[in-house]
Structures are given as structure tokens and as C-alpha cells.
Symmetry: C2
Subunit: 432 residues, 2 copies
């Protein structure tokens, strides 16, 4: 691999940088269930020569969930539908390692990969939400570190199943009556701590070999997992210095596992708010932040604290640090970060809730196209990121549209981003 390449994914679901963005007059409030939105967004991202589109997921909702989580298409079927209206861009779907069988996961992704002719990627998540267990006949969420042990084994099984058939196993010689070469069929016979999977898998590999592996873990266990296993790390960073530390740490870990530092792409998620002038961009931000009320902000914050009733605490006094003990198992590192932030900046509960409601410290870029291109270039050149995953919002679909129309051309002019696809697989785009 030569010079580092800037990499971009476009997140098509999720978004909603605050819980009230759907109320904005220009926001598409049913985007998560709107196939036309998805098709247009995927084609838009492809027109900008982005590396991939990305679809997040969750397996639990309740009446307090973010609007865009309540009613959404399932990622594998959605991305298969998008495979039919695109031809080059990668297609990354989220699937849980905690609530899926490895054999089913291996098949679904292999099938998406064949249908898209080598463009599939798998965002491996361990499903942090406590409530998910209740949808899957389990009384409790497995412990955080145990979920990662399960995930490590799960991915090992899936990769093993993907190797069931060598590329030239299917001879299909009608004359001789030889359908396949048995020496090129491999039975996995996996017997592990969490899974026993015999194999072989009943599907072959695409021309990119295996789907690209994406992972978003920021805990110690998560970083160990992604640095060993992932091709792409999807992360959320809150400032340049923090991002550089994270970048160095994960690349060091990858190197310690014997991997090249260039084989692992670290992509923070960002939303963008663009104005022709800085002032116009700020006005847009204020308009969006102003849609949230404190009640919604507290409800959202409570998610990280096992849904505790935060109204019991005084809103305008220092953040009650004893809440750290109520932090959810599933969000350990996020809870630590929030509690740390509250301490550091002496935030009140109200201030922390509103900051969380529309955060802009690194994950939401507000400014002119040039400012945003500069920030991207700075993070890339200073090795804080290998690229970014662009949010569909805050106002859906303006985030992706603005990025492709206004920021990508600047990066292309600067020679930082491709003007044409050179390959037609996701692995190819990444140079892997």
C-alpha cells in the first residue's frame, strides 16, 4: 500500500444529532423507513465516489426511544435493495454478534456480498442496550467483556465459514459429472466456548473475498477486538488531541497483533452543518439545537444511566457525580466520558443534558465548506483519522447532500480524494 488514502462512509440511518431534529421543517422524519430516501442517498453518496454507505441498527426500542429508531428497515434487506440501484459503492450493514447465530450471519453477509458483486461490509456490534436481551429470550444482557469474548469467537466462526469453499471449488464439468472438487471444500468443525458450528457454509465468496469488517468499540475490550479483527474502526471522537491519542493507540495495538498500520482504517463519525458564511452556519446550528426541550434531553441522558428518573435531581446544580454508579453496563465508556466532562467543565445536569442533546465537540462540524474541508484535512494529516463516516443529518438528508455537493469537490481539488472509482469492490476501494 502506498500513500494513505482518505476514506469516507455515508451513514444512511441513525442521524438525528438531537432528538428533536425531526421537527425541523426541512427534515425527512420518516427517513428510516423510506426506501426512496435511502435510494437517493446511496446514489448521491456514489456520485461523490464515497467508499461506502453505512446502516446502523438497534434491537430494542421503547416509547422513549429516538424517533428515527422506532420504525426502521432491517439493515441486510435494506442494503440488498440498495445494491440494485448502485454499482460501485460499498454497502456496510450492522448485525449483532450477541443475538444472531454465526451461521445465519455468515450466510446473510455472503449473500449480500454476492448480490452486490463484492461490495458488502459488516459492522459487528455487541448490542449494548439492556432491553435487547428481553427481545431474545434472555433475562439479562451478557456482561460487557463477555460480549466481546463472544464476539471474538463469533467472528472467528464466521470467517471460518466464509472459507468453506475455495474460489475454484466448483468445477461443474457436465461431461465428466464432476460438480465440485471435494479437496476444495473445508469443514470448519468449530467447538468453542460459546459456539459449536460444524459447517460447511452453503454459499461461496464474492470477488472481494470476504466482506469488510467494521467495528465500533471504544472500551478496552472493544479496542482490543477491533485492532485485532476489524478493517475499519467506527469511532466517536470529541476533539483533535483525544482523536490522535485514540488513533495512535488503536494502530499500535493492531501493529502488536502483527498487522500493518495501513490495514486498519479509523473513521470517526461526524455530522456537518454548512453555511456560506460562518455566521450562517452558526444560525443553522442554533436553529437545530433550539428544537430540543430539556425534558427530552434528560430522557436521552437517562438512557446511559439505566433509565433512572433524572428529574429527581436538581437541574441547575453541579452534575450529581454519584450517578456514575448507576451507569449502564452497555455504555461504560460513554458514561465515564460524560461524567468526566461534567466534572472537568463543572457542568450542571441541565447543561450536560443539553450538551449531549446536540454535541458539537468534534462530532458535529459547523462552518463553511472550506472550514469543514480544512478540519477533515487537518485530522487526516495529523493522524487523528483515516477518514470519516458522515451522518445523514442533522437535517436528513442535507448532511450527506451537502457533504457530496460542497465538501467532496474541495477535497478533490486538493488532491485528497478520488474523482473516479478505480475498483468496483469495497475491499478494492480501501486498497486492501
Amino acid at each position: 500500500m502506498g500513500r494513505r488514502k482518505l476514506v469516507f462512509g455515508a451513514a444512511l440511518s441513525g442521524g438525528g444529532e438531537n432528538t428533536a431534529v425531526w421537527r425541523h421543517p426541512r427534515d425527512l422524519p420518516d427517513a428510516a423507513i423510506n426506501l426512496d430516501y435511502y435510494k437517493n442517498a446511496a446514489r448521491k453518496a456514489e456520485s461523490g465516489k464515497l467508499d461506502f454507505v453505512f446502516v446502523g441498527d438497534s434491537l430494542y426500542i421503547n416509547a422513549q426511544s429516538h424517533p428515527h429508531l422506532l420504525n426502521r428497515l432491517e439493515p441486510l434487506t435494506l442494503l440488498t435493495a440498495l445494491a440494485g440501484v448502485t454499482s460501485r459503492i460499498g454497502l456496510v450493514a450492522t448485525l449483532s454478534t450477541t443475538y444472531t447465530e454465526p451461521y445465519n450471519a455468515a450466510r446473510l453477509f455472503a449473500s449480500l456480498d454476492l448480490i452486490s458483486d463484492g461490495r458488502a461490509g459488516w459492522n459487528m456490534v455487541t448490542s449494548a442496550l439492556e432491553g435487547s436481551a428481553l427481545n431474545f429470550s434472555k433475562s439479562t444482557l451478557p456482561d460487557h467483556d463477555e460480549r466481546y469474548l463472544m464476539a471474538e469467537e463469533f467472528v472467528q466462526v464466521v470467517k471460518g465459514l466464509w472459507n468453506s469453499w475455495e474460489d475454484d471449488a466448483f468445477v461443474v464439468d457436465k461431461e465428466k459429472g464432476i460438480y465440485f472438487d471435494p479437496s476444495k471444500l473445508h469443514v470448519l468443525n468449530h467447538q468453542g466456548n460459546y459456539y459449536s458450528v460444524q459447517g460447511p457454509l452453503n454459499i461461496t465468496s464474492s470477488k472481494q473475498g470476504h466482506p469488510v469488517l467494521v467495528q465500533a468499540g471504544s472500551s478496552e475490550a472493544g479496542k482490543a477486538f477491533s485492532s485485532r479483527t476489524a478493517d475499519i474502526v467506527f469511532t466517536h471522537q470529541h476533539g483533535l488531541e483525544e482523536a490522535k491519542r485514540y488513533y495512535r493507540e488503536v494502530k499500535d495495538k493492531a501493529a502488536a497483533f502483527g498487522r500493518s498500520r495501513d490495514e486498519l482504517f479509523i473513521l470517526p463519525g461526524i455530522g456537518i452543518i454548512i453555511g456560506d458564511t460562518p455566521a450562517e452556519a452558526e444560525r443553522k446550528y442554533e436553529e437545530i439545537a433550539g428544537l430540543v426541550n430539556i425534558k427530552d434531553a434528560l430522557t436521552d441522558l437517562a438512557k446511559y444511566f439505566n433509565g433512572i428518573d433524572l428529574y429527581r435531581y436538581p437541574l441547575d446544580e453541579p452534575f450529581p457525580t454519584e450517578l456514575v454508579d448507576a451507569g449502564s453496563n452497555g455504555y461504560r465508556s460513554a458514561v465515564d466520558r460524560m461524567v468526566g466532562l461534567a466534572k472537568e467543565e463543572s457542568l450542571t445536569l441541565r447543561q450536560l443534558a443539553l450538551r449531549l442533546a446536540t454535541p458539537r465537540n468534534g462530532s458535529l462540524l459547523v462552518g463553511t465548506p472550506d472550514h469543514i474541508a480544512d478540519t477533515i484535512q487537518e485530522w487526516f494529516e495529523q493522524e487523528a483519522a483515516d477518514g470519516f463516516i458522515i451522518s445523514p443529518g442533522p437535517i436528513i438528508p442535507e448532511g450527506i447532500n451537502d457533504f457530496v455537493d460542497k465538501v467532496i469537490p474541495l477535497l478533490q481539488e486538493r488532491g485528497l480524494y478520488r474523482t473516479e472509482y478505480e475498483t468496483d469492490t469495497l475491499r478494492g476501494h480501501l486498497g486492501l
Copy 2:
């Protein structure tokens, strides 16, 4: 519902009326992995105004499996891809109730149903193959009747999850800030013998309400399940009288559950071999049957007897009836039928194996287009069937192409089949 309607599905996978058909010069041996084949076949079926296309499945292969099972696209992703190239025809995918989580199954089908705008159907199978358990961290296949108890509860959960959101639950009033009406959100809270699923599901229903339910059980437990739960029964019948008995029995059972006899469609699977003359059709049959050798036929037969080595038995002496004790749990009714047939017609092991290799007693129609249309009409009018699921073979894709080009027009001329779609949902096509 008025006059009975003839119903047709086109099976796009499986096929292979014998294990050697792939060697035929005109057969498409990689059909199961060939997206262009699937797209063409689905469009062909839609041009014939068929009610639905159907994709079978299995979760276990080994080196002895039928060629068309070894390497195949996964049904949900495949049918989602086909949703994009069709607009009216129903899309029925197979998914196991034994090796899937109900929450995942409910989502996948709801998503296919929304993406196809109301055309999804679910072929509920309990996964008979003993080996499947070994791919899913289970040491043994659950007992036949237990699989059906699990399936009953599984479907109850899935249907419950599909009712999570009432049709008009999502108000999305930007002015008032009301995203949904909480009184129209239903939490399932299912606690059963096999599954505990809280809900709600994070996806709404399509305009057809729920995906159509298809089931193919011929055992007592299977018949009880389908007559209570299914909209369509996919069956294999071996003669008119047997089919009429089966038809009456299942409809009686449905009536006993308080259902209308017209709400349940009984569709035997058939393959067709068409010739301009009866002799030409017979020649085609002989050509296909002649592709099989006795070794393959025995391997195939052995599948029903736990893979026992049938070479140990004399080929040309009466079928060893003691083999009935070696019959697989997963294929109880098929084993009983085969052993019965061998006894009745005093077949040798070789004869039974070859008969099984290319059976034509009801499930493979051989003749002129008129003969095939006559047979279909007879079965329909005599209440042996409400329609049929047409195999893609024997020679893929000639089965479906010949059916649409040569048989459908005759049935249309006779006023027995639609000449245009009257609705654009699967449930609508069925008049449900």
C-alpha cells in the same frame, strides 16, 4: 370470497428433479447462485401473472448434498433483490423457526414486506435435516413434534410483534411535536415455553398487513400447524386420490379451527416436462431420468435413513423393510410413504432408489401443454388442489419458462386464470 381462484407460485430454487439434471446440456447448473437467472425467472413469472415466486432453503450441507443446495443465495436477501426488479408478484422466502430468533424473523419479513410494498410471504419450516443442529451450537435436532410446538409458539410471537404498531400510530406532527400516538404502540410481553419476547418491534406493517404465511408439513403435527396457522400449504402429492384426501383433511381441520375453507390454499409442488407431442415429452423425460446413476440414487435415498450405507444391501432383491427403523426423525412421513410404496409395488432397492431419483407420480407432469393444463384443471376442479407451486426444472429454467409460455395461456383461454393482476399485494392476489 366468491368463486375459487386458481393460485400459482413459481419455485425459483431447489428444483433438480433428480440429482444429475445439472449435467443436462441445457440446464443452468449454477442457478442457485446466479442473480441474473433469478431476475429473469421472477420477471418471467410476473409476465405470466403468477401469484408469487418461492425460494426454498436448507441449513445444512455435506459433500453428498444435491448440487443445487451446495452454493445458494440466502432467501431474504435474494427476494429483496428481486423486489427491485418486479412490481406485482408475491415474494415468498423460507426461514426456519428452529434456528432463528423470532424477533429477527419478524423484522426481516416486515422489512422485505415494506421494501416490496406488500408482497412478502414467509415459508415457515422447522428444518428437518439432522445436521442443521450442528451448525447452530446444538448437539441434536429437537424431536419432530417438539419442533412443531416451537414453531406454533414462534409464529404466535412473530404475529404479535407484527402488531406492535397500529397502522396510524405514526402521527409525525412537526408543529405539535408528536411523533407517534403511544396508545397505538403495543408491547407484546410474550412469556412462553420456548420464547420470551418483550417487544415492541421496531418496524411497521406494509399495506398488505402481514406477510402471507406458507407452510409445508405433511405429518400430523405439520397438518395441524398449517391448518391452524398458514394461508398457503405447500405439499407434495403423489396421485389425484391421495391429493383429494389430503385436501379434504386439511380443509376440514382448518374449518374445525373456525377458519373458512377458502382462506387456506393447498398447493402441491409440480415439475413439468413439455413436448409438442406426448412422445416428445416422454423422450425428454427419459433423457433426464437417464442422467442419474444408481450410486447417486442410493446416496439420495440414504438421506432419508440417516445416511446409512445402502450398498450393504442387495440391490435387486425386495426392499429391506427393516430399514424403516433407521428412518430419520426429520423425514418421518416421507420414510413411511417410501417404505409403503416399496411394499405395495414389490420394488427392489434399486427400483425404489431410481423411482425416488426422478419421481413422476403426480409431482412431475410429463406431456403436451394441453395435457398439463387438463391435469391442473382436473386437480383444481376435483378439489385436490387450489393451484400449484411450479418447479424451476427439471431443466432449469425451462420448467418456469414453459409453464408461463405454454400452459398459462391455455388456462387463461379457459377462463381459469387471471390475464392481468387486479391488485399489487400478495394478500390481494390471493383474495385474502
